[in-house]
């Protein structure tokens, strides 16, 4: 496959990035912040620390995915590396696919390291807290959360690539992916609020419903509560459905990205 050399190159380049180590260190700092916040709450401090630590984990992975996908593609274009690559017997769609696979690999590795950092952090916080009723932490649950977070990161990086190919301004591409990410997180609650409200007109309800079906739903990958509350259960079917949704939607985004890149004037 012609995409593999590009994927390898992108992967190696991203591992050397300051953002990779920088965001991991930032995550350690955020664990300290989680511990500090949990200190001021009455009752189950470990629950609060976990809430914050896992939310920060989710967002750090999202940030890395956005910066890695948009930044790497724009760097290839601005440093003229893309001309060098495309001068080889390589189709443009293979370049896009390779880029995506490289970023996806880096995101997976980043999530894997983050999982260790976060798990070690929350286990340490738990051992330091002196609760009357200890908060049980199930590492397997945190791992399942990490798997979905990793999927979210890869999904998001597909959009990063799409916007990097679509826009000529890096800032615009970054902001667009960020906007899309937050919109995708908000869609489920917005739909829930709008459909249950008496004050929203039927037309607006239809618009929200349409947006709910068409926009990427990032909230599906957010199951942090499952790791925090042991009484919550998630069916294996849920993981299967989310995985299928992720695969189909990511493929669709990649198809559009390759199409746009083939038509783009470099």
């Amino acid at each position: 496959m012609n995409a593999i050399p590009v994927a390898k190159l992108t992967f190696k380049e991203l591992l050397k990035e300051k953002a990779f180590l920088g965001l991991l260190l930032f995550e350690v700092f955020l664990l300290f912040v989680s511990k500090l916040i949990s200190n001021v709450v009455a009752g189950d401090t470990v629950k609060v620390a976990m809430d914050f630590a896992l939310a920060f984990f989710f967002f750090t992975v999202a940030l890395f995915s956005i910066f890695a996908s948009v930044g790497s593609t724009f760097r290839d274009i601005s440093d003229k590396v893309v001309y060098l690559i495309l001068s080889k017997p390589l189709r443009r769609r293979d370049y896009v696919l390779g880029k995506f696979l490289g970023v996806a690999g880096a995101v997976a590795l980043f999530t894997f390291f983050s999982f260790f950092v976060v798990t070690a952090g929350i286990l340490t916080i738990s051992s330091l807290s002196n609760l009357y009723v200890p908060h049980v932490i199930v590492v397997e649950r945190v791992f399942l959360v990490s798997i979905l977070t990793c999927m979210m990161g890869i999904f998001l990086s597909a959009f990063g690539l799409l916007f990097a190919v679509l826009f000529t301004s890096q800032i615009l591409a970054l902001l667009s992916v960020l906007f899309l990410f937050f919109a995708g997180l908000e869609l489920s609650p917005v739909k829930e609020l709008v459909t249950s409200s008496k004050y929203v007109s039927p037309i607006n309800k239809v618009i929200v419903q349409l947006a709910y079906y068409l926009f990427p739903n990032f909230s599906l990958f957010d199951i942090k509560d499952y790791a925090v509350h042991l009484s919550l259960t998630v069916s294996p079917l849920y993981f299967l459905l989310v995985s299928v949704y992720f695969l189909i939607y990511t493929s669709a985004v990649l198809v559009v990205s390759t199409l746009l890149f083939e038509r783009r004037e470099l």
């Binding site: 001021v40 709450v41 009455a42 609060v48 809430d51 009484s231």
Partner: protein, 289 residues
């Protein structure tokens, strides 16, 4: 390097001006420190941070209540409106993170002591706790609902109903099983009290609990027997007897039963009902409530 040092000292030099200006900044004085939060606003403004948002609201709530408890706002305590807002904020937390136990425990165990004169607020607290018990299977939630009913609202029947639910949940202390029949008996529902005690006796596994339930049953059956004799007396003479000894003198009872708790049975004149000085607790440890 010199420029960096210069920049550093310039920033240090600017600090007193910033602090002075910050003190002089015009600020709107808040009339009520407990602000009402809306579920939809918090939900929309915290994408992916639903649970941390619930945590922050709870921290805020604890901080405000702590101030009220330790009288940091020297000029006044929480008003009733603020307590109502506080209850509403717990409802918002509950919606954001339905499995979060601590805010509900705080609401059920602390807030009723502050708002016990307001029945509407007590009912609001109970409905919030019951909503929470749909997600959190902890005996303390129905217990707190029951406690609010029997202690603050003087509704012993409803109280007993929720205590019974609590007593059947995992981790519930064994004394709850005894409290339920006592509340039914105190509210005049003797038949329910006896039936509940029988039921609990059948399922009790601990020997100490079994013995305590048997003693309770014995006392309840004695009250029931006296009550029955009392109604026969009323039918026959058209009035309530002066003392329980009248039941023996009239030949309705051969002798008066003894209270297994060491108390003495007597007639509550107002209702013409039998009760005991032990209040269904061993006399040495019994108290008025």
């Amino acid at each position: 390097m010199k420029r960096l040092l210069l920049a550093f000292f310039l920033i240090i030099f600017s600090i007193p001006f910033m602090v002075k200006a910050d003190k002089m900044k015009p600020r709107v004085k808040e009339l009520l420190p407990v602000l009402p939060y809306s579920y939809s606003q918090v939900l929309i403004s915290s994408p992916g941070f639903k649970s941390p948002a619930a945590d922050i609201l709870f921290i805020n709530l604890c901080y405000l209540t702590g101030n009220d408890v330790f009288n940091n706002w020297k000029e006044r305590k929480f008003s009733e409106e603020e307590w109502e807002r506080l209850i509403e904020n717990v409802r918002v937390i509950e919606k954001l993170d339905p499995y979060y136990f601590d805010p509900l425990y705080f609401l059920g165990a602390y807030v009723p002591w502050k708002v016990y004169k307001n029945r509407k607020l007590l009912l609001k607290i109970n409905s919030t706790l019951l909503e929470g018990s749909r997600y959190i299977k902890d005996w303390r939630l129905p217990f707190l609902v029951g406690f609010n009913y029997f202690y603050f609202m003087d509704n012993k029947v409803e109280g007993a109903k929720y205590l019974k639910i609590a007593s059947q949940m995992k981790g519930a202390p064994s004394y709850l099983k005894l409290l339920v029949p006592r509340l039914y008996a105190e509210s005049g529902k003797l038949d329910i009290a006896i039936a509940v005690t029988y039921e609990e006796l059948k399922s009790a596994k601990q020997e100490s609990v079994k013995r305590a339930l048997e003693r309770r049953l014995k006392a309840l059956l004695a009250i029931k027997e006296l009550d029955r004799a009392l109604s026969v007396y009323r039918k026959r003479y058209g009035r309530c007897p002066e003392t329980l000894d009248d039941l023996v003198r009239s030949g309705i009872l051969k002798k008066l039963p003894k209270d297994p708790y060491g108390g003495k049975f007597y007639i509550e004149k107002r209702k013409c009902k039998v009760w005991t000085t032990s209040n269904l607790r061993p006399v040495s440890t019994s108290s008025s409530r």
